[in-house]
Symmetry: C2
Subunit: 206 residues, 2 copies
């Protein structure tokens, strides 16, 4: 006998559409919500409804932000001549958490992924190339921080080629990528062979 | 530099308040939602907002339902003289999934938990006792399906005592509880000693 009320089923379906949330977790969350005060439910609902209307993409770096230009692009202390290219806004959050980077960013909003019909024009590559072409001060370095998987690497390689094709006069643009290697706290025993190969190749002197 | 837009922070906070969802998962879900079409966001928001207004508690068994009495209490094929006592509506869903139970339920909406200030009056025990007192057909069996932990066991014992105190004339009420033992598919090697003790005590002849 199916005894789930429709209103609960609808919440289960809402949650189950989210990545990493299976049907069991969705059901647990839905039943939890039946005990939550209505004011909290309203707050939850409003926050979800307004996540897009309450945000904009920064005109320059395309990060999801409160305003455009975003706080990083409009900050006088950030180095504009260095651009770190990432796939998602959440990657910026992760890099900012390190506190080690003082340059600017460019968010592609995805990676080139032919299997899922995402070509170079579906992500913000043209905007990056325009920035490189017209920006003052001139761009000195592009740091590629796309994900270390097939799509991320292919995207970085594609963009490198496009930048070389720009043939910017009297200026060399340094192109770098994040180091690959063992994550801090990892066990060498359990490291996969590709990570371990990269860690060997990239070994450094003490 | 804190670059998270407020609208995204609000969704992160909404998700992070849910049980089993940590700050990292909440952030991942929030960023995912910035890519979801607005109509989907609206549907999600509406489902959450209406989870309580769209449901009622069944007057009889207190399950969260579309209508009162619920589909189980109003079904002519369900055995009304057997009541299975559970802590949550979601426990009913799990038991219904077995397809093995044809009696009715009573949902307590919690367990007696003095450490969290939940006494017998905070959950639907009085309603269960009234059902037992006045229901026709008379209740013949109460199956305790509270959780096999300290609070669940204490709740079952408390209710048993209350039922005995009812001194219902000319009628014996059978009180049973779900069997404890090894879960199907489990490794004996990894079973905890209390489960294994219960499995030994409850061993059955082939």
């Amino acid at each position: 006998m199916n005894v789930l009320p429709k209103a609960v089923v609808r919440v289960i379906e809402s949650f189950a559409r989210l990545p990493g949330i299976g049907p069991r977790t969705a059901q647990r969350l839905a039943f939890y919500m039946t005990h939550v005060p209505q004011t909290e439910l309203d707050k939850f609902a409003d926050s979800v409804r307004n996540i897009k209307t309450g945000t904009v993409l920064c005109d320059l770096c395309k990060i999801i932000s409160d305003q455009s230009p975003c706080s990083i692009c409009s900050s006088p202390v950030r180095e504009k001549s260095i651009i770190c290219v990432v796939e998602q806004s959440s990657d910026v959050i992760a890099l900012e958490r390190t506190g080690k980077y003082k340059g600017s960013y460019h968010v592609l909003h995805g990676s080139i992924d032919p299997l899922n019909n995402i070509g170079p024009d579906e992500i913000y590559i043209v905007d990056l190339l325009r920035r490189i072409r017209i920006q003052k001060p001139r761009v000195r370095e592009i740091i590629f921080a796309t994900n270390p998987n097939m799509e991320g690497e292919a995207t970085a390689m594609y963009i490198q080629k496009q930048i070389l094709d720009l043939r910017i006069q009297n200026s060399e643009i340094l192109m770098t990528r994040l180091a690959h290697g063992l994550p801090i706290g990892a066990d060498i025993e359990y490291a996969d062979e590709r990570t371990l190969s990269r860690a060997l190749e990239g070994r450094r002197e003490y």
